[in-house]
């Protein structure tokens, strides 16, 4: 499915948001790397697809009713075999916060290599239109709100300055003995999301809010490990 169809599909089902695989397909269609994955309806389908992914994998619940998957017990990481995946799915299905929810299925996804967690997001401002945001992941965004916003479309200089504006920018260059990560890889994703031909400009009328959280950035590249796209109310 192309991006247009993904959005139309979610609209047709009256969903307020794209599900995670659709969100990642949208990113992939813009050339943003996402982990290889398979979707199963339940544990019995795992054996048939498991050879298509490279362990270790993560399993995530897919449900329009669950906003915070981890909090609900809907994420299990580091699974090495089909048996472990099936166990994880059965445990999830029985979790109190999940039992009553509508379940679309389970996402089995390759684990991204470790790196610096970043957040890239989008939001539509009533006056200014789409905005794009970048921040360092984890406590930097959640506690310190160390993020930088720009009005779309951004240029390459804007993207560079967005990173430079972050108070924690030095972390990207390998502060405290860590390996430096690729600023270019982050800038590339920022432009694909918020640039002239980026997805926020293209779908300005459809996307109310977006989070790529985390985007895991290494010395050589960036992978979008989770993606959420909230759709705007139609005919807004």
């Amino acid at each position: 499915m192309n991006a247009q169809e993904l959005i139309a599909g979610a609209r047709a089902q009256q969903r307020a948001a794209l599900d995670e695989p659709s969100g990642k397909s949208l990113l992939a269609s813009y050339g943003i790397a996402v982990p290889a994955s398979r979707v199963v309806k339940n544990a019995s389908e795992v054996d048939a697809v498991f050879s298509g992914v490279k362990p270790p994998v993560v399993v995530k619940i897919m449900s329009p009713d669950i906003l915070h998957k981890s909090d609900a017990g809907g994420v299990k990481v580091g699974l090495k075999s089909a048996a472990e995946v099936k166990d994880a799915i059965n445990t999830m299905a029985a979790a109190p916060a999940i039992k009553g929810a509508r379940i679309d299925g389970y996402l089995i996804e390759e684990m991204a290599p470790s790196g610096q967690e970043m957040v890239i997001g989008g939001v539509r401002d009533a006056q200014f239109g789409p905005l794009v945001m970048v921040g360092l992941g984890g406590i930097f965004v959640e506690v310190l709100a160390d993020v930088s916003f720009r009005i779309c479309p951004i240029t390459r200089i804007d993207a560079q300055e967005m990173l430079a504006d972050l108070k924690g920018a030095a972390i990207l260059d390998g502060a405290r003995g860590r390996t430096a990560v690729s600023r270019e890889a982050i800038i590339d994703v920022l432009l694909k999301v918020g640039g002239e031909d980026g997805l926020l400009m293209r779908y300005a009328n459809d996307i109310a809010e977006a989070d790529i959280n985390p985007l895991i950035v290494s010395a050589t590249g960036a992978v979008a490990v989770d993606a959420r796209f909230i759709l705007s109310a139609e005919h807004e």
């Binding site: 307020a16 401002d125 006056q127 945001m133 959640e142 959420r228 909230i230």
Partner: protein, 485 residues
């Protein structure tokens, strides 16, 4: 671009002004408006509009807007809001295009819920009649080139500072305080609810207007932020734009479903606008005026953004505090090299004088040669120092009782003379510090007038000058960084 100049000329230079709402008995706000523009030099025709009075304030009155002998460039309308749409509709219907600009001073429109329909009717009537609408809910225009003023202030020479203000009251403050500081305006338009003419259009006018060097805007809500962003970005800060934004909340979207949404407050958007367009965002009226003043007085140097600042004046503690303040603002007060220090040392200034940077000269030093020593010091700094800006500060209070009055005069004269010798060498700002004592304030006012006339911006305190310099740096850096894009 010239189209916009032509389109707005009737507003900035009206040949005919109609006034609606003046009372035959006098005393109403529109009567004051008539008196002000007559007293303050408006030379065009004034047409009071009144349903019955044959004459108002000695001027022939007309029954309706359509009855004026010549078309109306600018109509000042201050009557009860409810009757205005019908009034505009009538003249528009009878004589389309007869009124070019109608400014509705009255309130009770879109700024209150029950007035939203009335505002829509107002816009419809104006558009149908081929006129542009300013306001409603504003105070008027101040346009030196047109000789029109809504404030109790005589428009003087046509200056280079163009203003759009969403608030009328603040517009008055900007004019009065600005003039007192030596700002000369190319125009100031209060736009209120911006039902038709948007701030963006007036900024475009100022960009195209050869008189205007710097544009200032007070804005509370950008109804069409997108257009503002696109226009400012396309302009690439070809003229500096200073924005005082009211209501910059940090609050994110009330019902955000994402991290991004919860973090996206109005404040973030305006900071983004400033980063992407080079406009200078300020927080207070004082900063607004301080910043407009520096851009009025000094030409930005995009090729060499302001970084190194020299401080020279009397007051050791003041220098130390200023050095800290400037460092926080991203400006370096860097000590001089030997090439500057040696010739300064050769002047053999009295003990207590510091000749590194900051250059701290007590009154005892500054009164040498009846004050003319300043010229020698500045000469050395300019000819040998590494500096992008020089802030000279004089604490006038410290001279009281210690020197003859002419010492300060000589000091000022010497200081200003040096500037002519090194044109464009460094941004020169003067800080005249005082304590509110009337005699000193009066001298300060006189010094300020002289300095501003020579293109030297004058500030009350070191921090004010620092904020203005930081704004200059911001603008210069932006233009420099986008020079090749």
């Amino acid at each position: 671009m010239n189209n916009i100049l032509e389109e707005f000329t009737p507003l900035f230079e009206p040949k005919t002004v109609a006034v609606i709402g003046a009372s035959a008995k006098g005393g109403a706000l529109p009567n004051h408006f008539i008196r002000r523009i007559r007293e303050f030099g408006y030379t065009g025709a004034i047409y009071p509009i009144h349903p019955s009075a044959p004459e108002i304030d000695g001027l022939t009155a007309y029954k309706t807007l359509a009855d004026t002998p010549l078309p109306v460039d600018y109509a000042y309308i201050a009557v009860a809001g409810g009757q205005i749409p019908a009034m505009l509709e009538a003249v528009g219907h009878k004589k389309p295009g007869h009124v070019r600009f109608a400014q509705v001073i009255s309130s009770g429109f879109g700024e209150v819920d029950e007035g939203k329909d009335l505002q829509a009717q107002l816009v419809t009537a104006a558009r149908a009649g081929g006129m542009r609408l300013i306001g409603p809910n504003c105070l008027g225009i101040f346009t030196p080139r047109g000789g029109v003023t809504f404030a109790e202030v005589r428009p003087q020479q046509v200056g280079s500072v163009g203003i759009v203000s969403q608030s009328g009251g603040l517009g008055t403050d900007i004019i009065r305080r600005g003039l007192a500081r030596g700002i000369q305006f190319s125009g100031l338009i209060t736009v209120g609810n911006c039902a038709d003419v948007a701030p963006t259009e007036l900024i475009e006018y100022y960009f195209a207007d050869p008189q205007t060097k710097v544009v200032g805007m007070y804005i509370e809500s950008a109804k069409d932020g997108r257009r503002l962003f696109e226009m400012l970005r396309a302009a690439k800060a070809k003229k500096p734009v200073v924005i005082l934004k009211g209501g910059r909340t940090k609050q994110g979207l009330a019902a955000a479903a994402s991290h991004t949404g919860s973090l996206a407050g109005d404040d973030r958007v305006w900071v983004a606008l400033s980063r992407q367009t080079g406009c200078v965002l300020v927080d207070t009226l004082d900063q607004f005026i301080d910043t407009l003043l520096i851009f009025q007085s000094l030409a930005p140097k995009a090729g060499a953004p302001t970084q190194h600042v020299t401080l020279f004046g009397n007051g050791g503690g003041t220098s130390v505090l200023a050095t800290d303040c400037y460092a926080r603002l991203g400006l370096d007060v860097t000590p001089f090299d030997a090439v500057t220090i040696e010739p300064l040392a050769a002047l053999k200034l009295p003990p207590g004088t510091s000749i590194t940077n900051p250059v701290d000269c007590p009154v005892g030093t500054l009164q040498q040669e009846e004050g003319r020593v300043a010229e020698k010091i500045l000469d050395i700094i300019y000819s040998s120092g590494k500096l992008d800006a020089l802030v000279m500060h004089l604490n006038l209070s410290a001279f009281v009782g210690r020197t003859k009055p002419e010492v300060l005069d000589n000091l000022m004269a010497a200081t200003l003379r040096v500037q002519q010798k090194y044109p464009g060498r460094a941004h020169f700002l003067l800080v005249l510090r005082s304590d509110g004592e009337p005699v000193l304030e009066e001298r300060k006012r006189a010094f300020r007038e002289k300095a501003v006339a020579l293109g030297v911006p004058v500030y009350d305190e070191m921090a004010n000058a620092g904020y203005a310099l930081a704004a200059m740096q911001w603008h210069e850096r932006f233009v420099g960084s986008r020079a090749n894009t």
